[in-house]
Amino acid sequence: AQTVTQSQPEMSVQEAETVTLSCTYDTSENNYYLFWYKQPPSRQMILVIRQEAYKQQNATENRFSVNFQKAAKSFSLKISDSQLGDTAMYFCAFMRRSGGYQKVTFGTGTKLQVIP
């Protein structure tokens, strides 16, 4: 079974600064995807960024980037130039792909507070 671990229950960052959220996972699979989702107080889960395991290049989406270390099974999220709207819960997620079946497992989340 896959497990996803987020060891930082809460973090805070000053507006305009950079913050990194940690995620590790455990799997014996070789073909999988990793995601970071954001959940603001409205509780709508929003995709932040996606990484395909077979790609060595780290994914980036504007101010969001990841540091994907496949051998270490680590997938951290870096938020640059933090904005007040980044305040939310952030969940790391693992998607196993096997014969078209895709099961997604989430971590317990990191609550990020951006301080003005």
């Binding site: 995601f35 989702y37 709508q44 995709l47 998607m95 792909r97 895709q102 997604v104 317990t108 989340g109």
Partner: protein, 117 residues
Amino acid sequence: GAGVSQTPSNKVTEKGKYVELRCDPISGHTALYWYRQSLGQGPEFLIYFQGTGAADDSGLPNDRFFAVRPEGSVSTLKIQRTERGDSAVYLCASSPLGQGSGANVLTFGAGSRLTVL
């Protein structure tokens, strides 16, 4: 519709009652997921549909929980004899299958908050 729609948004019921939670996925999305999210926790997998069939129901906590998707679009999560421990937000998500750029990305609804008194 443009997004995943879940109804009701909030449901308050009494212990022992039966509830149904509905999910209307994005049109054409073959994969549909139900998750349960307790306060301060991450989403916990319940069940996954590919089309009409439940490909994986290993996350359903017990036989009081059941979900259907009879025509491969709308899904209903059914909870019998509700207990206070069932109180949570129930999230639905859908995804296309395949190799396109949108494949494998889950789009979530806003969830149904269930409170069992």
